[in-house]
């Protein structure tokens, strides 16, 4: 009897699988349920929207949770939240992460290491991300927003939600750009299952993280995209820049495909929102009443939320 009921259950499960297959074959377009792991030309299928699940954009090295902007606390090495992120509470914190750099060390030259430290201390003043500028490569690949890959035999186009940034990876003809680019100039080729991309022609304006990691216009990037599963790519990137680093160094992380049925690349359109941050002091009638010249004076007058007061009674 027991054997029989298991067998019957198996029949029901098998029928459900058949039904599911029939339904999925009715879909007329390719999506997560029907996408094949390979393209017609045999290459891995990279089409779709992708995103990392890490904290590299905050800090490339291993790090514990910390305020995005901090001030000394009561105890040494235990800083507390500072303006202008004080009112954000837990949303003003940098999430902890194990790091993405091989050997957990970026080989900065001594003067560059000092610059990185200073950049980190002046993050909000200096990070081009805060200004909604194009993020450059490789930073665009590990920002906490999705990007879409459109893959063809001759070109692979990547469009990033953040700031509508984009890059073309040329697999065939690749005319050299006439000037440096924020997103660099990408030329790729396949090595078996791995897409290898050489990126050059950078300017020196982009950063690598919110922790002040930077490069010069001599930056040379080699990226390797290798499928681990049909929906996950190992992303390895080697950075060479003799002006800033003593020797080439490497990051490694995983890109995940968005499998939601309603996955959509929606613009993270930030440029008009940063106007108040950077041009607010130039208004005839200022919206923020606490400008002193070009300095935002944040008194952070914030009422304790009603919910908290209830428990204080």
């Amino acid at each position: 009897m027991v054997t029989r009921s298991i067998w019957r259950g198996g029949m029901v499960a098998a029928a459900a699988v058949v039904l599911a297959l029939a339904v999925s074959s009715l879909r007329t377009t390719e999506d997560s349920s029907t996408r094949s792991a390979r393209m017609a030309d045999g290459r891995p299928n990279l089409n779709g929207t992708w995103q990392v699940m890490n904290t590299a954009n905050w800090d490339l090295l291993a790090h514990t949770v910390r305020p995005a902007v901090s001030q000394p606390g009561v105890y040494e090495n235990h800083p507390v939240l500072a303006a202008p992120v004080l009112a954000l509470g837990s949303t003003g914190l940098v999430p902890a992460g194990p790091g993405v750099v091989e050997g957990n060390e970026i080989p900065y030259k001594p003067e560059a290491a000092a610059m990185k430290r200073e950049n980190g201390e002046h993050w909000l003043d200096r990070d081009p991300e805060v200004r909604c500028y194009m993020p450059g490569v490789p930073r665009a690949m590990y920002m906490p927003y999705p990007f879409q890959i459109t893959q063809s035999p001759g070109k692979i186009q990547m469009v990033f939600a953040y700031a509508n940034a984009s890059r073309t990876i040329f697999l065939e003809e690749a005319p050299r750009p006439p000037a440096d680019k924020w997103m660099g100039h990408s030329v790729g080729h396949w090595e078996g299952n791995t897409l290898v991309v050489h990126v050059t022609d950078f300017n020196d304006r982009t950063w690598l993280s919110r922790s002040g990691d930077f490069h010069s216009d001599a930056l040379d990037v080699v990226e390797r995209f290798t499928p681990i599963t049909p929906d996950a790519l190992r992303y390895e990137v080697t950075l060479t820049d003799p002006n800033v680093y003593t020797h080439p160094w490497k990051m490694s992380m995983v890109l995940y495909r968005q499998l939601e049925d309603n996955a959509a690349l929606m613009d993270f359109r930030c440029l008009e929102f940063v106007e108040e941050t950077f041009l607010g002091h130039l208004r005839k009638n200022q919206l923020v009443k606490h400008w002193e010249g070009d300095t935002i004076v944040l008194d952070v007058t914030r009422r304790v939320p009603e919910g908290d007061k209830k428990y204080e009674r």
Binding site: R27, T28, T29, E30, D31, R35, M39, A40, D41, N47, G48, P128, C132, Y133, M134, Q148, I149, T150, Q151, S152, P153, G154, K155, I156, Q157, V159, A163, N164, A165, S166, T168, E173, P175, P177, P178, A179, K181, W182, M183, R205, D261, N262, A264, L265, M266, D267, R269, L271, E272, E275, F278, L279, L282, R283, K284, N285, L287
Partner: protein, 377 residues
């Protein structure tokens, strides 16, 4: 034998027609079987958006009409344009208008040398004209025009009169125009704020006419429009059957969803924003775009624009883009926002001018024309 005899002449006719049509190479297909829309596309063939009334409902010119229209175009190309040192036929060297012309003609690049036989980009309605505005839209546009004129009143670019009290008012719409005021960033036009071009792009000829790169896969087409002064943008249309986003979600370039209808890629675009303006249509715009590879060198891009709050009925326009040489026609990144010292400069300058005026050291900025760019409008 009978069948062959009947069909052979037809086949011969078709072959002959193909040869007459310029022996164009066939439209290529992708390795996954769809028409291949890829390439770098632009146009140097002039087509007016709307049809001149003399052509009536005729979509194409006769040989004679074309020869005359081409001669007119070549004559127009000889005009000095922004190199002119005259305003309204009078010498104007050193005047505010002359100086405000800033860029000379050189920056506008090559002028179109080719003229299409097409009498207009608009193919529907049959008269080749964009349908009339709804009364609501006409009022909206008239209100804005009045506001723009009020802010120019009493300057070299506006009607004579005193400084208008309307200078203290907010623009009646979300401002995207160049208005004669710089109280804050919102007073400057969309291009000055680096908003970038919106959809649909109607490409022109010459340097500012635009270049489009299209990369295609089985589940999306990814377009990059390199157009205007750093107004370029990326636009991805997924080929999917997901529904559109909820209506209140407004995206600057809409929510595009693509599907194949035979050999035509149809992209349905909704969820536009009130921060873009396509000929008076804003968040209620509904676009249906049709991309079709006509032959190896031609991509037909057609759009139907519908907005019951703006036009009496939907209308359709088409552009036949030409395949560009990718070695010489490069796609450049926009970099407008990243280098936008102009917007900051405009605000700094205006605050300084206001201060100088308060101190009796300069004219009232409200009496200066900082909007018309010295154009002949």
């Amino acid at each position: 034998m009978k069948i062959a005899a009947r069909f052979l002449p037809v086949a011969a006719l078709v072959a002959a027609a193909t040869i007459i049509a310029g022996a164009q190479a066939k439209a290529p297909r992708t390795s996954w079987g769809t028409p291949d829309l890829q390439g770098v596309w632009n146009t140097n063939t002039f087509v007016p958006v709307e049809r001149a009334p003399q052509y009536g409902t005729r979509a194409m010119m006769t040989e004679e009409e074309h020869a005359k229209a081409l001669a007119d175009l070549q004559e127009r190309n000889k005009r000095p344009g922004r190199d002119s040192r005259e305003v309204a036929g009078k010498p104007a060297i050193g005047t505010e208008k002359d100086v405000a012309r800033a860029y000379n003609e050189f920056w506008f690049g090559d002028k179109p040398t080719k003229l299409s036989y097409r009498t207009s980009m608009v193919i529907d309605p049959p008269d080749g004209r964009i349908p009339p505005l709804t009364p609501e839209a006409a009022k909206r546009i008239a209100d804005k025009r009045e506001f723009l004129a009020a802010l120019l009143q009493g300057t070299s670019g506006g009607h004579p009169g005193p400084i208008s009290p309307r200078r203290a008012e907010r623009s009646p719409d979300y401002n995207l125009d160049r208005i004669n005021r710089a109280d804050g960033p919102e007073d400057r036009g969309g291009p000055e704020r680096c908003f970038g071009n919106g959809m649909p792009v109607v490409m022109g000829t010459g340097t500012f006419g635009g270049v489009m790169q299209l990369v295609q896969s089985s589940d999306s087409v990814s377009l990059y429009y390199d157009i205007g002064q750093g107004s370029g943008f990326a636009w991805v249309a997924p080929i999917t059957n997901r529904p559109h986003l909820p209506k209140y979600v407004q995206l600057y370039r809409g929510d595009p969803i693509g599907r194949w209808e035979g050999d035509t890629l149809v992209v349905d675009v909704t969820n536009f924003s009130d921060e873009t303006d396509f000929r008076g249509s804003r968040e209620n715009l509904h676009l249906v775009m049709r991309f079709k590879r006509v032959d190896a060198n031609t991509l037909s891009v057609q759009f139907t624009a519908d907005d019951p709050t703006t036009w009496a009925k939907p209308w359709t326009a088409v552009q036949e883009l030409e395949k560009a040489d990718e070695k010489t026609t490069q796609i450049l990144e926009p970099g407008c926002h990243e280098g936008n010292y102009g917007l900051m400069g405009m605000l700094i300058n205006t605050r300084a001018a206001e201060k100088a005026f308060r101190e009796g050291k300069g004219p009232d900025p409200a009496t200066q024309d900082n909007a018309t760019g010295g154009g002949d409008n």
